[in-house]
Symmetry: C2
Subunit: 546 residues, 2 copies
C-alpha cells in the first residue's frame, strides 16, 4: 500500500517534470554544476525518451558544503564581529520586496532583477542588493539614525563566473550608517571597516579606489557635458577599469555625441590617480575645479576626509582615482571599491573569451572584480518617504558591502595540501570494546554516556551500530577529527570505569587512562581545555592568512 | 546636474510603480505591517491621484530588528551549537530550485509553492522546505551517509498569522541523518535533539506526538480501506488535532466513500494515545495488529525505539498518538511533531474567525501550531536518483525541523518589563570633555583612541560630532548600553592621560580613574573581564527561561 503511494509520487515527479531528456543526456546532467551549461543546452533540445528530472542547482547558484562552508562561516563570523565592534545592530529583511520598491534604483542593471511569478496578490521581486531594502526599512519606520549590518543573499540574473565568485545567488555583508552627522565621519569609519575587515581576512595587497560623485559631476560640467548626458557619460567612464581610454573616448564621441574637446577634457581628469593628498593638491591648484560649485564641495569633503583617514591610519590603502564612477543611480557623494591583483581580467581576456566553448560561465576570461564597495547615498531614504506620501525628510546614508564569494575565492587560493579543515565540531568519540558470545555491543550504554557529554555541552558522537569493531570506531573518530575517545570496555564498564584516550598518530601506543564513570564529564572537560590551549585552529589560521 | 538625475530616478520610481493610491490611502500604508491587509485592499481599488509606492513588506513577511533580532539570533546559535554537538555539518542550498525538483513532494500543499517568473532559462521555484533540497543534494553528490544541519528560510503562500509565528517567509532549523544504520538509532537521536533543543530554549511543557506510518497503514488495511484510498483517509485523520472525531468520521464516510464499519474501526485505533510503553502493550495484545505485516514491522520499530529513548532518558516527553498522520507525501516510518499548550487554537476559534474583520491575517483565531516536527523518509533520495537516470540506491533518511518563528513567539511571551535586551554589542564609549574658545572637540583624537580599542577587538563607539557636550555623550553611551567610558579631558589628554570610568546609575558619583594613554587597551580589557565575570546576560537568561 505504501509502495503504491510512493509509486504515485515518483510518477508525479516524472509527469510534472518540464524537461524531457534521453538517457544519454541524463547521464551528463548528473555531473557536478560545472556541467550545468551542457545540461541546460540539452534541456532546450528535447529528445524522445524517458521523462526525467535533472539533478542540479539552477544556473549561477551552487550548494555549499564541507570545508567550503566552514571557511565561509568563518568569514561571516569575522565580519559580523567586526560590524558589532563598530556598534552595528543587525536587521533581516524579506528575500523578496514589492516590485515597485526596487524599480528605478539600479540603472541599466534593472534588467538583472528576478521577478516572482504573478500567482495572485502582490507583484514581488527578489532583492538585488541589501541597500534598497535598508533604505525602505529606514523610511518605513521613520528611523532618524541607525548603524546596521546585514549579512544575506542577493540575486542577479547576470552571466555567472562561478570559480571567480561571480554568481547569480550570492551573499553581501553590508554595514551602513543612516542619519545626519558631522561631514565625512561615518564615511571614514566605513573606510576603516573596509581596511579592518580585509586585513583580518588575511587580504593585504588591496587598494581602495575612491572618488566623489560631486567632483565627477563638476568635471563633466567643466568639460561641457550637458546635464541630460551626464549619466551616460558617467557609465562610459565607469568602463575605464576594463577598457583603454581610447575605447571609452570613442564611445563618448561616436556613440554618445560628445565633442572631441569635451572627451579630451574629461580624459585629462579621469587619468588622475594617486594618494588623497596628491590628487587633492592637484585639484586644489586647478582653477576650473575650485571655481565649480559642485567640484569644490566634493574637494572640501576630501580635505575633511583626509584628517580622519589619518586618525584611523588608513591613508596608505586609499587611491583617489578620478576614473571611478560606479554604475548605481543612488550614490551622491563618496564612492569607493576595493580591488586586488585578482580583480582584473586575465591579460588575454578577449582571446580567451573567443576560445571559451560556452558563454554560460565566464570564469575563464574574467577577473574576480571588486571584492568590496560602497558609497554615500543621501537621497534614497527620502525618495521612499516622498513616494509613499510621507513627510519629506532627508536621512543621509553611507555604507559598504563585502562580496563574500569573491573574498572566499581569494582565501581558497591559500589552501595548500597541508591545510586540513574539519567540517564537524566533534571532540569526543564514545566507543565500546568487547567480544565473545554474550557481547551486546553496549549501544544503549554508549548512548547514555554520550548523552552525559551532550548535557555538559561537549560535542560527542558514537557509531550508529549495535556491535562495531574497534577499527571501525577509530576510523569514524578519525574521520570526525576527534581529539578524545571515551571507551566502554566490556568488563571495565561493569565495574563503573571508563577509559579516556587521546586520539592521533602520536598517541597510537597510549592506552589511555581508566577513570570512574561518575567523573567522566569533568575529566573530559579538563582534557579538552588542555588540548585547546594551544590556540588557533586551522580555519582561523587560513582566514587570517597566517 | 546631480539633482536632475535624482529627479529622473524619483520619476522613474513613480512611473514604474504598479499601485496607484490617493494620499489618504498612502497615509494608511505608512503604518507598520499590521496594516498590510488594509494597504493591500486599498491597492486593489485604485483611485485617482498621485502615483505612489507602498512602504511595506510583502504579505506574510516582515522585517526583523532590534531585540527581536537579538533573540532570534540567540535561538539560531543555541540550535546550531546543539546540531554541532551531535556531529552535524552544515550545508547551504540555493533559495530556489528547479521547479521539477519540488514537484510531487508536498501533496495538497504544492499549491503553496512560490514560482519565479519565466524570464528565459530554467523554470524555478522558491524552496518549500529544507528536506527536499537536502535529498536532492544527497542524490546529486552520491553521498552515502551524512549528518547535516541547515538553518535557512523557506517559503509558503499560506494564510499568515503573524503574531503566532505563522508566516510566508520563515526559518527552519533542520537536522537530518542520511545513511543506512542500525534501526531506530538515528531516529532516537533526532528525538533526543528535539528534547535537548526545546529544553535549552526554556520550553518545558511540550509533548512529542509520535506515530509510525507503517502502523497507520496497517490500521487502514485492517479497517478495510482500499490501497488507493489510503492517502485521502490519512489526510482526514490528520485533521483530528483540529476537528472532533465525529467531523472526521463524517468526512470519511460521506465525502471519502468509506463504510460506517471501516470508519468506526479506524476510530477505535486513532483514539489511542499514551506512553510508548502503554500503547505498545495495547497494540502487542491486538491480534489484528500483530498479524498485519506492515503494522507488525512498525510495532517492532517501536519496541527497539523504547530501548534507546530510555538510554537518552526522553520517554517522558513522548506521547504515542495513533491520530498523528502528517500531510507530507515523503514520510515512510516514524513521524512526530511537538506541541505545547499554545499550539492549539483558542477554544472559541470559529466564533473569533467569524468576528475577525479581515482574513488577511489569522492570528486572532489560530494557535501557534506545532513548534517542531519530523520523521523518517527512506525513499526520497532514491526517487531523485532514479528520476535523474542514476543507479537506484536507497539512502534512508530521518530528520527534525524546528519552527523558529513559532518558538520565538513563545519566548517573546516571557519578556516582562524588567527585561532589557541590548541590541548592540558596544562595551566602551570614547568621549571628550573640554570647553573654551580653543576647544576643538578632539574628534580625530577620539577616533585614534577608538581605533586602538577596535584593533584590540573591543567594541567601541564615539559620537559622530566635532564637539559634543558631556550630557549628549553620556546619553549616547547609555543608549548603546556601554559599561565603560574612556574620556579624553582637554588638559589630561595633552599630558598623555585618559580617564576610564564605569557607567551606570551606581557609578554616577564616581569620577573614574586617570590612566596613562599608552596602557589604555590592557586597562579596559581588565575592567571588561571583571564586568563580564558575573556571567549570563539578559538574552541568555531569556532564551533559557531563567
Amino acid at each position: 500500500m505504501l509502495s503504491r503511494s510512493l509509486n504515485k509520487v515518483v510518477t508525479s515527479i516524472k509527469s510534472s517534470s518540464i524537461i524531457r531528456m534521453s538517457s544519454a543526456t541524463a547521464a551528463a546532467t548528473s555531473a557536478p554544476t560545472a556541467n550545468a551549461a551542457n545540461a541546460l543546452k540539452a534541456s532546450k533540445a528535447p529528445k524522445k525518451g524517458k521523462l526525467q528530472v535533472s539533478l542540479k542547482t539552477p544556473k549561477g547558484t551552487k550548494d555549499w558544503a564541507d570545508s567550503d562552508m566552514v571557511i565561509r562561516e568563518a568569514i561571516f563570523s569575522t565580519l559580523s564581529g567586526l560590524f558589532k565592534k563598530h556598534g552595528g545592530v543587525t536587521i533581516d529583511t524579506p528575500v523578496f520586496e514589492l516590485r515597485e520598491i526596487l524599480a528605478g534604483k539600479y540603472g541599466e542593471d534593472s534588467k538583472l532583477i528576478y521577478n516572482l511569478e504573478d500567482q495572485g496578490g502582490e507583484l514581488c521581486s527578489l532583492r538585488y542588493d541589501l541597500t534598497v531594502p535598508f533604505a525602505r526599512y529606514v523610511a518605513m519606520n521613520n528611523i532618524q539614525s541607525i548603524k546596521r549590518y546585514h549579512i544575506a543573499k542577493v540575486y542577479r540574473r547576470d552571466q555567472p563566473a562561478m570559480t571567480k565568485g561571480r554568481m547569480r545567488e550570492f551573499y553581501q555583508c553590508d554595514f551602513d550608517v543612516a542619519g545626519t552627522f558631522e561631514s565625512m565621519v561615518p564615511d571614514s569609519e566605513c573606510l576603516s571597516i573596509l581596511v579592518e575587515g580585509l586585513t583580518s581576512l588575511g587580504i593585504k595587497d588591496f587598494k581602495i579606489k575612491l572618488n566623489h560623485r560631486k567632483i565627477l559631476d563638476g568635471i563633466f560640467q567643466i568639460a561641457g557635458v550637458k546635464d541630460e548626458d551626464v549619466r551616460k557619460i558617467s557609465s562610459a567612464v565607469d568602463k575605464l577599469d576594463k577598457s583603454p581610454w581610447e575605447a571609452v573616448k570613442k564611445e563618448m564621441t561616436e556613440e554618445k555625441g560628445q565633442s572631441e574637446e569635451t572627451a579630451d577634457k574629461i580624459g585629462e581628469y579621469v587619468k588622475l590617480n594617486g594618494s588623497l593628498k596628491e590628487i587633492h593638491a592637484v585639484l586644489s591648484a586647478d582653477a576650473n575645479i575650485t571655481s565649480n560649485e559642485k567640484a569644490k564641495q566634493g574637494l572640501d569633503d576630501i580635505a575633511t576626509l583626509m584628517k580622519y583617514t589619518e586618525a584611523f591610519d588608513i591613508d596608505s590603502f586609499i587611491s583617489f582615482d578620478l576614473s571611478l564612477a560606479r554604475g548605481l543611480d543612488y550614490y551622491t557623494g563618496l564612492i569607493y571599491e576595493v580591488v586586488t591583483s585578482a580583480s582584473a581580467p586575465p591579460e588575454n581576456a578577449s582571446e580567451l573569451k573567443k576560445k571559451a566553448k560556452s558563454a554560460e560561465d565566464a570564469s575563464e576570461f574574467v577577473g574576480v572584480g571588486s571584492i568590496a564597495a560602497g558609497g554615500r547615498y543621501d537621497n534614497l531614504v527620502n525618495m521612499f518617504s516622498e513616494a509613499s506620501g510621507k513627510k519629506s525628510t532627508q536621512i543621509p546614508c553611507v555604507g559598504i558591502s563585502f562580496g563574500v564569494e569573491r573574498i572566499f575565492s581569494l582565501i581558497k587560493q591559500r589552501i595548500n595540501s597541508s591545510t586540513t579543515i574539519k567540517p564537524t565540531a566533534t571532540q569526543v568519540f564514545v566507543m565500546a570494546f568487547g567480544g565473545g558470545k554474550d557481547w551486546t555491543g553496549y549501544l544503549p550504554e554508549r548512548m547514555k554516556v554520550t548523552k552525559q557529554l551532550w548535557d555538559a555541552g561537549i560535542e560527542a558522537e558514537y557509531v550508529y551500530k549495535a556491535k562495531a569493531n574497534p577499527r571501525k570506531q577509530f576510523d569514524a573518530a578519525e574521520k570526525a577529527g576527534c581529539h578524545i575517545a571515551v571507551i566502554l570496555g566490556k568488563e571495565e564498564y561493569l565495574e563503573g570505569k571508563l577509559r579516556v584516550k587521546r586520539l592521533g598518530q602520536e598517541f597510537a601506543d597510549d592506552d589511555g587512562e581508566l577513570v570512574s564513570a561518575a567523573d567522566i564529564v569533568p575529566i573530559v572537560q579538563e582534557k579538552l581545555s588542555q588540548i585547546h590551549e594551544d590556540g588557533l585552529n586551522e580555519v582561523t589560521r587560513l582566514i587570517k592568512g597566517l
